[in-house]
């Protein structure tokens, strides 16, 4: 988050015509026979706050986890900034061929050299070992899946669903329903971990303490402190688990903001808070949207929050989308009232 973004221009009042940042298309996630999310379509528009609500067990968190790359969908896909990132894998059978290709070529060369030229034992040995080294290197690359490997797969028409860390790299920051801070790290360190993808210093830089690494450490520490102040935290060196509950929620948001997201996923950010803390939280979301122009996707049970800050609300029940629209529309929707209160309430 740069200085400029923090003090940037304010949001337009309406965002009806804005492009979608995130789009879920016919997204289905089944756990065995249980269909947790069923054919859900929805989108988050640039600069808007979209809420995802529904009774307990409606599939909100499952949907969140699919978006964040934690689990692969059964069918359907997620598009983020126009790129299909999460979907069921395609042409996966091609990948193992890719793994043995370099080693296979080396061994083929060994065979050719052995049969054509005069067989020099040293050359043969070196070639065979080179093949083995290539095989190990390719397999480890495949396990690590660096960005260039993903691009290579894409070029070959192989699609693999993004992992959580790929989604962060793509620009999705998230918080968790039950706070998952790094409990035994300080508040500052938590935010620094959030900056992980922004930092470019390699382990070699760290070992040699290169000027690049030292500069980066210093600037990221400043940046982390600024983020902590931004969400309203002062105790940088406190262990995360010693922070009061409300501060832990704030720290989680600061940590998510540190990933420089283009979309922020918040899973019940005001759960367990009292009304005044909730108000402070809502003010923070408003500021984040306004000052950083950052779209937010929110799961929330507190209707005061949902109705107070959302631009658009999507209602899930039993894994299906039953309503969508502005808070006022959704509030008036008979199906929503039925889902929450039962048939007799209508």
């Amino acid at each position: 988050m740069s200085e400029q973004a923090m003090t940037g221009s304010s949001m337009p009042a309406t965002n009806a015509g804005l492009p979608a940042v995130l789009r879920a298309v016919r997204l289905t996630k089944a756990f065995g026979g249980l269909v947790a999310v069923k054919e859900v379509d929805f989108e988050v528009k640039q600069g808007s706050i979209t809420s995802l609500i529904g009774p307990n067990g409606a599939g909100k968190t499952t949907l969140f986890n699919v978006i964040a790359g934690l689990s692969e969908p059964t069918s359907g896909y997620i598009e983020f900034l126009g790129q299909r990132v999460v979907a069921t894998p395609e042409r996966g059978w091609l990948e193992p061929i890719l793994w043995i290709l370099p080693a296979g070529l080396a061994w083929l060369l060994t065979y050719l050299v052995g049969s054509v030229a005069s067989p020099d034992v040293d050359v043969i040995q070196i070639l065979v070992l080179t093949g083995l080294a290539l095989l190990i290197a390719t397999l480890i690359t495949a396990v690590i899946r660096p960005a260039w490997y993903n691009r290579l797969l894409g070029a070959l028409g192989i699609f693999k669903s993004a992992r959580p860390n790929d989604m962060v790299q793509a620009g999705i920051g998230r918080t968790f329903q039950n706070i998952r801070l790094f409990a035994n790290m300080t508040a500052l360190e938590n935010v620094l971990v959030g900056m992980h993808v922004q930092l470019k210093a390699s382990p070699l830089d760290a070992v040699l303490r290169t000027p690049k690494q030292r500069r980066e450490e210093a600037s990221s520490t400043d940046e982390a402190r600024r983020l902590l102040r931004y969400v309203g935290l002062r105790r940088d060196d406190e262990l995360a688990r010693n922070l009061p509950y409300g501060d832990q929620r704030r720290l989680e948001i600061a940590r998510a903001l540190a990933t420089k997201p283009k979309l922020l996923l918040l899973d019940e950010p005001t759960a367990g808070m009292n009304p005044s803390e909730t108000d402070l939280m809502m003010a923070l979301f408003g500021r984040i949207r306004k000052e950083m122009n950052l779209p937010i996707l929110l799961i929330e049970h507190d209707m005061r929050v949902v109705m107070g800050i959302s631009d658009s609300v999507t209602v899930l029940d039993h894994g299906e989308k039953i309503s969508e629209g502005t808070p006022a529309d959704v509030r008036a929707d008979a199906r929503v009232i039925e889902a929450y209160l039962g048939k007799g309430a209508i």
Binding site: N56, A68, L70, I136, I140, V143, I144, R145, P146, P164, N165, V168, Q169, R174, F176, N178, I179, R180, L181, F182, A183, N184, M185, T186, E189, L192, V193, G194, H196, V197, L199, A201, P203, D205, A206, V207, R209, Q213, E217, R235, D236, D237, E238, L239, R241, N242, L243, P244, Y245, Q248, T259, A271, G272, N274, H301, M303, V336, I337, Y340, L341
Partner: protein
């Protein structure tokens, strides 16, 4: 619409103003800023002071100063192993019970690189790098299939790997000489001339060895403490001290870097770490590889010192002992595990010998003559009770001081704040 009832978590009572403030004092800031320099100075002082132990009163001499120095040189191996395992277990939180495998791989790499058996003779100094690299590759190979495992399951798989490697070395007779092991490994050599001792000696360089005065009680101190050999432990002792200092610097620098934070984050909560953009695969593999490379260094050094490698040297007891050293020393604290390893090794190898010397066949040793058994303490061989002592030490430590003898500040806070606060916020939230 009704909001589902969320149990309001209990808030912790008024906050105690206490944080993890590191490097807030003037000395703390100095050592924080000049860490590598501090490590070199500290290691130099330790290296210089340790051999003076023979002058201490009350130490029964069962040998010469050389015997003590030889013991210290041997202890250095364990210090190295503990520093390496600390990266895997203490920082990244991956319980590795097969650590001896990488030790074996390092040792056999040296045996293959410098022994009459293999007809190769590569310089020891180069083999240190090769051994570390080979062990790191083995670490990657072990790490890759175990990435999805954690806790007990990871421990079981690494335990299996630790058992497999010595068996492979024992059974591949053609390459490792089987159960007999490879003997008569070349010992390191150090050309007496020139600071670039690993290069062929340059004749125009002055003979630095002649410049170093002979200090009383310290034969030929300095880099030029004579040549490596069974009768002269000094060069080994100095070499291992230098390797330890270097490894410590690297470990500290990694720990304080982006990678170190990623390790800690994975230890704390792997899923949250992945959701913060950390590639958990790369991070864990790096922990395995770097831990293994330290073990490989120790293996190369030990095999060159003993001049023999055999599969029996690298059993489960090695993995277990190193783990016990890390836990006893204070997981996560580099100086702590190094000190823990040194203390434990010295107790088991020298301390017990000292006890034997004090007790054995002493007239005034107590003996109990009971109706059935005669317990005569004067005939007890304390060396036989080494593992009993381990067990006792571990159990009593878990009860009295679970964070280890020399814990890091973080670890101490981790284990003691919970008692103070009753339950952590984290647990309240998740309840």
């Amino acid at each position: 619409m009704s909001t589902p009832a969320t149990p309001t978590p209990k808030r912790p009572a008024a906050k105690r103003p206490q944080g993890l403030r590191l490097g807030q004092t003037a000395t703390g800031r100095f050592f924080g800023r000049h860490q590598s320099f501090s490590i070199i100075v500290a290691m130099s002082i330790v290296t210089a002071v340790l051999p003076l132990i023979v002058l201490a009163p009350g130490i029964k001499s069962f040998g010469t100063q050389n015997d003590f120095v030889d013991g210290f040189a041997q202890a250095g191996v364990w210090v190295l192993l503990a520093i390496g395992l600390n990266i895997v277990v203490g920082l990244a939180g991956l319980l590795d019970l097969g650590y001896a495998a990488f030790f074996a791989i390092g040792a056999y790499t040296y045996a293959y690189g410098a022994s009459p058996f293999s007809h190769n003779h590569v310089a020891f100094w180069l083999m240190l790098l090769v051994g570390a690299a080979v062990a790191a590759t083995a670490g990657l190979l072990l790490g890759a299939p175990t990435l999805r495992l954690r806790g007990d399951y990871l421990a079981i798989v690494t335990l299996g790997f630790g058992e497999i490697v010595p068996v492979v070395f024992r059974n591949s007779d053609t390459y490792t000489n089987g159960t007999n092991g490879i003997t008569a490994l070349y010992q390191p050599s150090l050309p007496q001339q020139g600071p670039l001792f690993f290069l062929p000696s340059l004749s125009f360089m002055p003979n630095f060895a002649s410049w170093v005065p002979n200090l009383p009680g310290m034969p030929k101190f300095g880099l030029f403490a004579g040549s490596f050999g069974f009768g002269n432990p000094w060069p080994y002792y100095l070499t291992v001290a230098a390797i330890i200092a270097l490894t410590m610097i690297l470990a500290y620098r990694l720990q304080d870097s982006r990678l170190g934070r990623a390790w800690m984050a994975i230890r704390e909560d792997e899923l949250a770490a992945a959701s913060m953009g950390i590639n958990t695969v790369t991070t864990k593999l790096l922990a395995f590889a770097l831990g293994a490379s330290t073990s490989g260094l120790a293996g190369v050094y030990l095999s060159s010192k003993l001049s023999i490698v055999s599969p029996t040297q690298f059993g489960f007891t090695v993995s277990f002992t190193v783990l016990a050293m890390v836990v006893l020393g204070g997981m996560g604290n580099i100086w702590g595990v190094a000190a823990g390893a040194f203390v434990i090794y010295e107790i088991q190898s020298q301390g017990l010998k000292q006890l034997n010397l004090l007790w054995y066949h002493q007239a005034n040793a107590p003996s109990f003559h009971l109706p059935i058994v005669n317990i005569d303490l004067s005939t007890v061989n304390f060396l036989d009770y080494q593992y009993l002592l381990y067990g006792l030490a571990l159990v009593s430590m878990m009860l009295l001081r679970p964070e280890g003898l020399f814990p890091s500040r973080r670890r101490r806070a981790e284990l003691h704040d919970i008692e103070d606060a009753g339950a952590s916020n984290q647990e309240l939230v998740e309840a």
